[in-house]
C-alpha cells in the first residue's frame, strides 16, 4: 500500500543521508523524496512516498524515529490529508492543431503554460500523483513529450493536526 510519510528533523549536515541510507540499508522502498528547510531554519521537513505492508510500514516509522536527528514522523495517509506534486513538462507544439490541443488539455487539468518556444510549450501542473499521471498520459496521446520533471509529493494533514516541535 502506498503511504506518505512526513518527517521533521534537525537541519544538520548528514541528516538527509541518514534517512536515505536507512531506506537502502533496510531495503525499504522510496517512490519519491522531497526535502527543504521549514520556516524555522534549524529544521528540515522531508516527505517520503513509500509502499509496503503494515509490518514494513511499522518498521519504517520506528526506524526513522530511532535516528537521533529525527524529531517527529507521521504517516499522513493514516487520516485525511492534502497531497500535492508539481510537474513541469515540455511538449511538442509544432502547428496550430497541436498548440490548441496542448492549450485545451492544460486548461482542463487547470495547469498553465509557463514558457513558449518556437516549437515547444512548457506546462506547469500541480495536483496529486494520480492527476499528474493522467495528465501526462493524455498529453502523450496528443503530442510528443520532450522532457518532464516531477517534484515528488509533499503533504500536510487536514484540519487541526499539525507536525511541529
Amino acid at each position: 500500500m502506498r503511504r506518505i510519510l512526513a518527517i521533521l528533523l534537525e537541519n544538520e549536515p548528514g541528516s538527509l543521508s541518514r534517512i536515505v541510507g536507512l531506506f537502502s540499508q533496510r531495503a525499504f522502498n522510496i517512490e519519491s523524496l522531497t526535502v527543504a528547510p521549514t520556516e524555522d531554519a534549524s529544521l528540515s521537513r522531508i516527505t517520503i512516498a513509500t509502499s509496503g505492508d503494515d509490518r514494513v510500514l511499522e518498521q519504517i516509522v520506528k526506524q526513522v524515529n530511532k535516528l537521533i536527528d529525527v524529531i517527529k514522523i507521521t504517516d499522513l495517509t493514516e487520516r485525511s490529508h492534502i497531497e500535492r506534486e508539481l510537474l513541469l513538462i515540455k511538449v511538442l507544439a509544432m502547428n496550430e492543431k497541436s498548440r490548441t490541443e496542448v492549450k485545451r488539455i492544460t486548461d482542463i487539468f487547470r495547469g498553465s503554460i509557463v514558457d513558449i518556444g518556437k516549437q515547444i510549450y512548457t506546462v506547469q501542473l500541480t495536483g496529486n500523483a494520480e492527476k499528474l499521471n493522467a495528465f501526462i498520459e493524455t498529453m502523450g496521446n496528443e503530442t510528443e513529450i520532450i522532457e518532464s520533471v516531477r517534484s515528488g509529493c509533499v503533504g500536510i494533514a487536514r484540519g487541526e493536526k499539525a507536525l511541529r516541535v
Binding site: S17, G21, I68, I71
Partner: protein
C-alpha cells in the same frame, strides 16, 4: 607509563585552548580512564595534547581494529563508555569492524577519528575517507565537527548518545585544522545534555505493565527469555527476583548469559541454534513468553514461520524497532529494562499474585523430562582431548569466576555451553556480528579494568590469528591474560557446516601451515604452553592460571572431529534439533 607528563597550570590563566587541548579536556570531563588508539598525521595534535596530561592513559595497540575491540571489552566489563582514537583514512577504516561489532551488541563506544583539514575535504586528499559516510550504517550516531568551539559539546553529546537509551557506538570526525595550534577558542562544556530530537523512553506504559502481569498471572506454561539488555542495564538481580517470584523457567540468549546465574535452579540453559533442548522445547511449548531485552534474532528463532505458534508474547525492550521486527509481540512494553522489571514486580504485588501451583508443577515436570536428555553433553573417552573437557577444566580451576572473552567459532559455543556464568558481564563475546579476532583485544580491555581477576581469552587456531599482533601490546602494558586456544587445526565451525550441509567437502576450512604458537608467544616475551594429552590437561591448565604476572598462551590440541551439539535443523521450528549425530530431539 613513563611517557606521561602533566601540563598543570599551563593554560589555567586563560580560557583559550587549541582544538586538540579541548579534545583532551572534554575527555577528562567525561572522566575516562583509558583511550585506545593509534597515531597518524591528522591526530598528531591530539597525541601531543594527550602526552602532556595525566588525567587518562592512552593505550597504543598494533592495529586500530584491536583498539575498538579493546575499548569494547573494557566497556562490556565495566559498563563505561569505551573510547577510541584513530587517524583519518586507513586508521579510521580499520575501525569499521570494531564499530560494527559494538553496534550489533549495543555497546557504548565513542570513536574519535581524524580528518583532513576542512579546506581539503572532498578533494581526495592524502588519507581522506568519508568516515562518517563509511560508518553510517553501523553507528548509533555520528558528528562532523567543524569548529574549535564545537568540540567540547560534540564530545559530551557523543558520550550521552552512546550510553543512553539503547547504547551504541558514536563516531566523531575531527578535521586537522580545528585541532592545530593556530586555531584557538573558548572552552565550554555542557555535561547535562538535552536533545530535542532524542528522548529515550524510560518507564514502561502502566497499561502495558498491567496487561503483561495479567498475561503472566494466567499463564500455565510461562518462559522467561532474557537477553543482552539485562546485562547492559545491570538488571540481573531484578531478573532473578522476578524469576523466583514466578518460579518460572528462564533461558538466556548468547548475549544474556549470566543475566540469571548459570547454576540457578530455574535456569534451563541457553536457547537458539546451539541452545539446550529443554530451553528450545520450553519456548516452543510455552503459552506465555516473557522476552526481556532480547530481540528474537534469527539464531534464536530458527524459522520464524514456525515460531512458538501458541504463545502470547510479551516483549520488553528499550528499542521500539526491536519489538515486532521479526516476531509479532502481543504485549509490547517499551522502557529501560531495570525500570520495567521493577514495575512488573510492583504490579505483581499490587495484584496479589499467587503461583498456580498445579500448573507450575506440571510445567516443571515436563521441562525436567526434556532436561533428562542431557542434550548439552559429550563423551571424553581415552583418545584426543575433547574441547568441551577443556572448558570444564577451565571452569573448575577458575572457580567459575573468570571473565571469559571469546572469539568466534566452535570454541565460542563450547564456552557458552560448558561455563555456567554466575554473573552478568563475565561472558564477553561478539554475538551479533560474530567477529573473529574480537577475543584477544576484548580480553585485554577487561584485564586493564580488572587486573586482579582471571581474564581468559578462549579462542581457536583461526580466530587468534586475526589479531595476534596484539601480543605485542600485551607485552608493552603487561596484560597477563590467559589465552586458551582450542586448536583443532581447522576453521571448525565452517568445517562443521561443510560436514553437515555440504557433503563433507572441506573447501578452505583447513588452516594449513599453522605457526608454532608456543614459540610465537615466547617471541613476544610471553609464556607459551602446549597441551596434547588428556592426562596433562588439568595440571598444565592449573599451572597456566598460577602464573600471575605473565601472559600465558595455552595451545590445546583438541579433537578436530568434534561438532557442536545440539544444533537446530535448518528451516525448522525453534525446537527441531539434532542432539547428536543423526539423532533428533
Amino acid at each position: 607509563m613513563n611517557f606521561l607528563g602533566t601540563i598543570k597550570g599551563k593554560h589555567m590563566t586563560t580560557n583559550s585552548f587549541t582544538g586538540a587541548e579541548m579534545v583532551v579536556k572534554a575527555l577528562a570531563a567525561m572522566k575516562i580512564k583509558y583511550i585506545f588508539g593509534y597515531p597518524g598525521g591528522t591526530v598528531l595534535d591530539i597525541y601531543d595534547a594527550i602526552f602532556q596530561q595525566s588525567e587518562f592513559e592512552h593505550i597504543l595497540v598494533r592495529h586500530e581494529q584491536a583498539a575498538t575491540h579493546m575499548a569494547d571489552g573494557y566497556s562490556r566489563a565495566t559498563g563505561e563508555v569505551g573510547v577510541v582514537l584513530a587517524t583519518s583514512g586507513p586508521g579510521a577504516t580499520n575501525c569499521i569492524t570494531g564499530i560494527a561489532t559494538a553496534y550489533m551488541d549495543s555497546i557504548p563506544m565513542v570513536v574519535l577519528s581524524g580528518q583532513v583539514p576542512t579546506n581539503l575535504i572532498g578533494d581526495d586528499a592524502f588519507q581522506e575517507t568519508d568516515i562518517v559516510g563509511c560508518s553510517r550504517p553501523v553507528v548509533k550516531h555520528s558528528f562532523n565537527c567543524r569548529s574549535v568551539e564545537d568540540i567540547p559539546n560534540t564530545i559530551s553529546k557523543a558520550f550521552y548518545i552512546a550510553k543512553s537509551g539503547r547504547p551504541g557506538p558514536v563516531v566523531v570526525e575531527l578535521p586537522k585544522d580545528i585541532l592545530m595550534p593556530h586555531n584557538k577558542g573558548e572552552f565550554h562544556i555542557e555535561t547535562d545534555v538535552q536533545l530535542r530530537s532524542y528522548n529515550p523512553t524510560e518507564k514502561g506504559h502502566p497499561k502495558q505493565i498491567r496487561k503483561a502481569v495479567k498475561a503472566i498471572s494466567s499463564a500455565k506454561k510461562l518462559v522467561v527469555y532474557s537477553g543482552g539488555g539485562i546485562v547492559l542495564a545491570d538488571a540481573a538481580e531484578l531478573l532473578t527476583e522476578l524469576v523466583e517470584t514466578l518460579n518460572a523457567p528462564c533461558t538466556n540468549t548468547l548475549m544474556g548469559l549470566g543475566g540469571l546465574s548459570g547454576t540457578h535452579k530455574n535456569f534451563i540453559g541457553m536457547l537458539g541454534m546451539h541452545g539446550s533442548v529443554e530451553a528450545n522445547k520450553a519456548m516452543a511449548n510455552a503459552d506465555v513468553i516473557l522476552a526481556l531485552g532480547a530481540r528474537f534474532d534469527d539464531r534464536v528463532t530458527n524459522n520464524v514461520k514456525k515460531f512458538c505458534p501458541n504463545a502470547t508474547i510479551i516483549h520488553v525492550d528499550i528499542d521500539p524497532t526491536s519489538i515486532s521486527k521479526t516476531i509479532n509481540a502481543h504485549i509490547p512494553v517499551v522502557g529501560l529494562i531495570d525500570i520495567v522489571l521493577q514495575q512488573l514486580l510492583d504490579e505483581l504485588i499490587e495484584t496479589d499474585y499467587q503461583i498456580d501451583q498445579k500448573a507450575n508443577d506440571s510445567w516443571w515436570q515436563q521441562i525436567n523430562q526434556w532436561r533428562a536428555v542431557n542434550s548439552v553433553g559429550y563423551t571424553q573417552g581415552e583418545g584426543k582431548i575433547k574441547p568441551q573437557r577443556v572448558i570444564e577444566a577451565m571452569y573448575k580451576i577458575t572457580n567459575g569466576e573468570a571473565y571469559v572473552c571469546s572469539d568466534v567459532g566452535q570454541h565460542q559455543m563450547f564456552a557458552a555451553q560448558y561455563y555456567p556464568f554466575a554473573k552478568p558481564r563475565q561472558w564477553i563475546n561478539s554475538g551479533g556480528l560474530g567477529t573473529m579476532g574480537f577475543g584477544l583485544p576484548a580480553a585485554m580491555g577487561v584485564k586493564l579494568a580488572f587486573p586482579d581477576s582471571h581474564v581468559i581469552c578462549i579462542t581457536g587456531d583461526g580466530s587468534i590469528q586475526m589479531n595476534i599482533q596484539e601480543l605485542s601490546t600485551c607485552s608493552q602494558y603487561n596484560l597477563p591474560v590467559v589465552i586458551i586456544s582450542l586448536n583443532n587445526r581447522s576453521l571448525g565451525m565452517v568445517r562443521q557446516w561443510q560436514d553437515m550441509i555440504y557433503g563433507g567437502r572441506h573447501a578452505s576450512s583447513y588452516m594449513e601451515s599453522l605457526p608454532d604458537f608456543v614459540k610465537l608467544a615466547e617471541s613476544y616475551g610471553h609464556v607459551g604452553m602446549q597441551i596434547n594429552h588428556l592426562e596433562e590437561l588439568d595440571d598444565k591448565l592449573t599451572e597456566a592460571f598460577n602464573i600471575k604476572n605473565r601472559l600465558v598462551f595455552v595451545d590445546v590440541l583438541v579433537d578436530e572431529l568434534e561438532h557442536v551439539y545440539p544444533m537446530q535443523i535448518r528451516l525448522g521450528a525453534i525446537d527441531d534439533m539434532w542432539v547428536r549425530k543423526g539423532e533428533k530431539a
